[in-house]
């Protein structure tokens, strides 16, 4: 404290920050990146452990042996599906009723903002079928959900078969304390979203659906099941949900317990689990898994139907796997353990990163990584603030004692006024980027030979690129007396704006915050209207949000060991843009508005700084 209250020492500190600014920034950035890379190594990754007492030691004995029955159901379902070409609602209703469930259906329809070319759908209408197994002698206050999403093809018929066989087995047991809802949704995630909204009687995304006839109280946990074929290989688990939300770690621990108990081959991000964590191999493999998780979480899209449940505070997982008898038992075991729950899952971590199924990094350990990165912005802003004051005080007064505190009314007034135009224009650019592509798709299709989806993507890119032309029109008013002050003030505002945004993002979705910070911070710190401008411009363009997205796609496929060629990457990039906009409209994913309304205008400010005249 004495350091700050003593003006002499305060000045010394200020000089230190000014003089050592560059090395401090580099050090801080390197420390942030190094900290992140070190997360996969043992002192920072910890072993997972079950915190919830009710699901603690393995007390259930799985008895389910309905593998053949499941296969029979799956065959029938696939046959009926082929015959009708859509979800065989009547057959499902009949079958669910015959295994003793209370059966209801829900029809829904949704017109997408523009045609979805990946899934080939535009106006979607479908029917969800669900059956409720009522727990005996209970009052239907709590329930568990097993959901199977059915897409346009019949790939998931094995899962439907398994769901029906499990329902038949569960119905014969008397130990249930919670109702179990067996849900088959059409049009995969759209159906799930429609059902969830109707169950909670809300309308978040403009879905039109019939009200639900049957309910079963507060949903405590949910499992989604996707089985792609009937050959046995492995069971993959997906945790990343909408907007990077994660289920409670205990749910994953539960899955892992049954993997070990049944000797199953379980994977995370499609990666086998490294056994040896003492040598470097395990952590290096863990780092790949961790990076994959960060990329998936940062995308903010639900990686499976479970992702949509998380909004309603329902802990959920998606299991993707391939048929085997032993894996059925794991499912039975998981449901029985969840049935033991006395409270909602809350004991374990909600914010974590996974290096392997049994290794995690808790929030306390990963936050410093992004903290170091944001420190760079803070240091730069501090430096600019001091330089602004010194410049305002004039060269003669720099050494004077009163420099930091003296108000400089004329110079500051000009500085702030010159900021208004760039700020407003770049923010307006963001609003245009957010609204115009979807609003203007019809105009675009009338005047250009493109389809709606293409029109949206191309408009998006066009507006994005048009933003680069802004600096030539934004700043007409520049104070003649102190030409440096203008860009300094603008950069100061931009730095603080970026730091605040990234800090808020990192608190809710660490992965996204870290990715954006790691790419945007160096360019943001370096950008100046003087110096090697072409280099700065290249750096800025390479670290703009769109370039980060493109780079992330390449990195993602590289880590999945399916590298992309340049053309494929570009196609995937265009697809990802369309998906991002669609997911915002259909599920309420926040990545697109966040980038369009927050990060992109901020990035434009730096672009403005670079071309300040």
């Amino acid at each position: 404290m004495g350091l700050l209250s003593d003006p002499v020492r305060r000045r010394a500190l200020a000089r230190l920050v000014l003089r050592l600014n560059a090395p401090l920034c580099v050090l801080s950035y390197v420390a942030g990146i190094a900290w992140f890379l070190a997360l996969a190594f043992p002192p920072l990754t910890q072993r997972t452990y079950m915190s919830e007492n009710a699901m603690g030691s393995t007390m259930v004995e799985e008895q389910f042996a309905g593998g053949d029955r499941a296969r029979g159901f799956a065959r029938d379902f696939a046959a009926h599906r082929r015959k009708s070409g859509a979800l065989p609602v009547a057959w499902l209703e009949r079958t669910m009723r015959s295994v003793g469930l209370e059966v209801y259906t829900q029809s829904f329809s949704r017109k997408l903002p523009f045609p979805d070319e990946t899934h080939e759908r535009y106006v979607v209408a479908g029917t969800n079928v669900y059956g409720i197994l009522r727990a005996p002698r209970a009052a239907s206050t709590e329930s568990l959900v097993l959901t199977v999403p059915c897409g346009s093809d019949s790939t998931n018929s094995q899962a439907v078969g398994l769901l029906l066989a499990l329902a038949a087995h569960f119905r014969g047991q008397i130990y249930w304390a919670k109702d179990i809802i067996f849900l088959v949704t059409e049009h995969d995630l759209l159906g799930t979203e429609a059902w969830l909204e109707a169950y909670h009687d809300t309308n978040v995304t403009g879905m039109q659906s019939s009200p639900l006839q049957g309910r079963a109280g507060a949903i405590q946990a949910a499992l989604a099941l996707e089985l792609s074929s009937d050959m046995v290989t492995s069971l993959d688990v997906a945790v990343e949900g909408l907007n990077g939300q994660l289920p409670n770690l205990d749910l994953l621990n539960l899955f892992q317990t049954f993997c070990q108990k049944g000797g199953l081959l379980c994977t995370l991000q499609g990666k086998l689990q490294p056994q040896d964590w003492t040598s470097a191999d395990g952590p290096l493999q863990g780092l790949q898994t961790l990076l994959l998780m960060v990329l998936q979480q940062a995308s903010g899209r639900p990686h499976g139907p479970h992702g949509l449940f998380l909004r309603y505070r329902v802990e959920a997982l998606t299991l993707r796997g391939i048929n085997s008898f032993r894996q059925y038992k794991a499912l039975e075991g998981m449901f029985r353990k969840l049935n033991h729950l006395l409270e909602r899952l809350h004991q374990s971590f909600f914010l974590y990163l996974l290096a392997a199924l049994a290794r995690f990094v808790s929030i306390g350990l990963y936050m410093p990584a992004v903290g170091f990165l944001l420190l760079v912005l803070g240091l730069k802003a501090l430096e600019l603030w001091m330089r602004l004051h010194e410049a305002g005080a004039g060269p003669a007064e720099v050494g004077a004692a009163s420099a930091p505190g003296t108000p400089l009314p004329p110079a500051q007034g000009v500085g702030l006024a010159s900021l208004v135009a760039p700020l407003l224009i770049s923010q307006a650019m963001g609003v245009a980027l957010y609204t115009l592509p979807v609003l203007g798709q019809h105009v675009a299709t009338q005047h250009f030979p493109v389809a709606e989806a293409e029109a949206v993507v191309l408009t998006l890119l066009a507006i994005y690129a048009a933003g680069l032309a802004l600096p030539h029109s934004t700043h007409r008013v520049v104070s003649a007396q102190a030409p440096d002050r203008g860009w300094m003030a603008l950069k100061l505002v931009a730095l603080i704006y970026l730091a605040l945004q990234l800090a808020c993002i990192a608190l809710t979705n660490f992965s996204l915050g870290f990715l954006l910070a790691a790419t945007m911070v160096p360019a943001a710190a370096l950008t100046e209207p003087c110096g090697p401008r072409p280099f700065y411009a290249a750096l800025l363009v390479l670290t703009s949000p769109a370039a980060t997205l493109l780079g992330s796609l390449f990195l993602w496929r590289e880590l999945q060991e399916a590298p992309l060629s340049l053309a494929e990457g570009w196609q995937l990039f265009l697809g990802a843009l369309a998906q991002g906009v669609l997911e915002h409209h259909t599920y309420g994913a926040l990545l697109f508005p966040l980038l369009a309304l927050g990060i992109y205008p901020c990035w434009l400010l730096f672009w403005n700084v670079l071309f300040w005249k």
Partner: protein, 476 residues
């Protein structure tokens, strides 16, 4: 089980149909009966009823003062054998003889529905009500699940359900009967068959439909003596189709809508499936104070139009003292679904007010719906003392309608809950530290500092200044 709520043990002071009953002097008399209703789904509902009356020296004071009527409900009670044992001890024959031998805990608690009740009420012994008997009525209803207990078979027998058969009546009983609902058989002789064949049958109008019961009187020697025990069996002659069960005229559903921990909405759906008759229902809601109801958001819609209740009584909650009470008389149009919804805000409790399992959520008691539902068949008024005990469960007000009281499901609402663990403490501590640091840093960073020359001179200077002030000259 339509919209019935398994209120586990409901002990209430029953005023009975028409207030005070009137009975001939009866001394320690026991009537017991068992009603078995095979449902179309294959499930079997069994209702035991035991009624004991004894003379009392307690003099009846004034009539019941309705200002002091109390309604209380415990939204959750875990059903277990501990509820049954003390209940059985109230029976004169305990579980040694009579119908009560069937009350075997391990069978009764493998059922899908369980409801157990004790009713106590005073009964006038003469028309002027100068002396009073007390009546203790115990009821136990269970529904046996065809899927779980019958392994998928729909046929049943007393032995298969209770793992006991009836051997003798309770020696203290003045009446001991078993009724089996054979309505579908009486309409169409091919559907089901009871064995042994009943000696008598009984017809009555229950919930607006005509029912036929096979009657087995245990006091009648012929019923038991043939094989020394009575094991009633029922066989379905035709396999039943898997069809959705028929829907009652009035049923209801209740749920919490919305997400997040700030606001929510309580919605009650009231279904009137009668094809052409509208009828009014009385809806009674008690909501705990920690859900702060916004009464201005109360909306009732039927068939897409606003439905104005003809009567509303609302008593606002007082924090920690009294819950909200909302009572409404709503007209349900024919063949409609009416939605009653009201928004609420979740209150933040004091940290000592949370239950030991706060993350489980907090229970909200069921709404109570009372209605006179139009009946399909005209019922004749019955003499309460002569007709079987079970008919008092389905009171009839007049010939055109019958009285129904429904309880919706209780709700589980999660409230904003602090994390009562180490991280919570850590967060509190860090926030305090940050707040303190922020204050002093902000102070230091925004303050301007001026260097003041240290005063030199001391006493001499002060003296000089005094003189200067006296002279009217500015001080040094």
């Amino acid at each position: 089980m339509a919209a019935a709520v398994p209120l586990a043990v409901l002990a209430l002071l029953l005023l009975g149909p028409g207030g005070w009953g009137y009975a001939e002097p009866l001394r320690d008399s026991l009537r017991e009966e068992l009603v078995i209703t095979p449902l179309p789904s294959g499930d079997v509902a069994a209702t035991f009823q035991f009624r004991t009356r004894w003379d009392s020296d307690l003099l009846q004071e004034e009539g019941t003062d309705h200002y002091f009527l109390r309604y209380a409900v415990l939204p959750r009670e875990v059903v277990c054998t501990e509820n049954l044992t003390p209940w059985k001890k109230l029976l004169p024959c305990s579980s040694k003889a009579g119908l009560s031998v069937l009350l075997k805990a391990d069978r009764l608690f493998h059922t899908s529905y369980h409801s157990q009740a004790v009713h106590i009420r005073p009964v006038c012994r003469n028309a002027r009500c100068t002396s009073v008997s007390w009546e203790l009525r115990q009821t136990l209803s269970v529904v046996f699940d065809a899927f779980v207990t019958g392994q998928g078979k729909k046929d049943w027998s007393l032995f298969r359900m209770f793992s006991r058969t009836l051997t003798e009546p309770c020696p203290l009983a003045s009446e001991s009967r078993v009724y089996v609902d054979i309505t579908s058989s009486s309409q169409d002789n091919e559907t089901l068959e009871v064995n042994p064949p009943p000696l008598t049958t009984y017809q009555d109008v229950i919930l607006g439909t005509r029912k036929t019961y096979a009657v087995y009187d245990l006091l009648d020697m012929a019923v038991i003596s043939s094989s020394r025990n009575l094991n009633i069996q029922l066989k379905w002659k035709r396999p039943l189709e898997n069809e959705a069960p028929p829907v009652p005229f009035l049923h209801a559903q209740r749920y919490v809508s919305g997400y997040g921990l700030q606001k929510g909405e309580l919605s009650t759906l009231l279904y009137n499936t009668h094809p052409y008759r509208a009828f009014p229902v009385l809806l009674l809601d008690t909501v705990p104070w920690y859900l702060r109801l916004y009464v201005h958001t109360l909306t009732i819609t039927s068939k897409g139009k606003e439905n104005k209740p003809s009567y509303i009584h609302y008593q606002p909650a007082q924090d920690r003292l009294q819950p909200h009470l909302l009572e409404m008389l709503i007209q349900l149009p024919a063949n409609s679904v009416s939605k009653v919804s009201i928004q609420f805000e979740r209150a933040l409790l004091k940290w000592t007010e949370y239950t030991p399992d706060p993350n489980h959520g907090f229970y909200v008691s069921p709404s109570v719906i009372s209605a006179l539902v139009p009946s399909m068949v005209a019922a004749k008024p019955v003499d309460w003392e002569e007709s079987p005990l079970f008919s008092s469960l389905f009171p009839v007000s007049d010939s055109s309608s019958y009285f129904v009281r429904l309880y919706t499901e209780p709700l589980l609402v999660s409230l904003p809950t602090p994390d009562f663990s180490m991280p919570y403490n850590v967060i509190c501590l860090t926030c305090t530290v940050v707040a303190v640091c922020y204050g002093s840093f902000y102070n230091l960073l925004t303050r301007t500092f001026h260097i003041e020359e240290p005063s030199t001179g001391g006493l001499a200077k002060r003296l000089a200044n005094l003189i200067r002030r006296a002279r009217g000259v500015p001080p040094l």
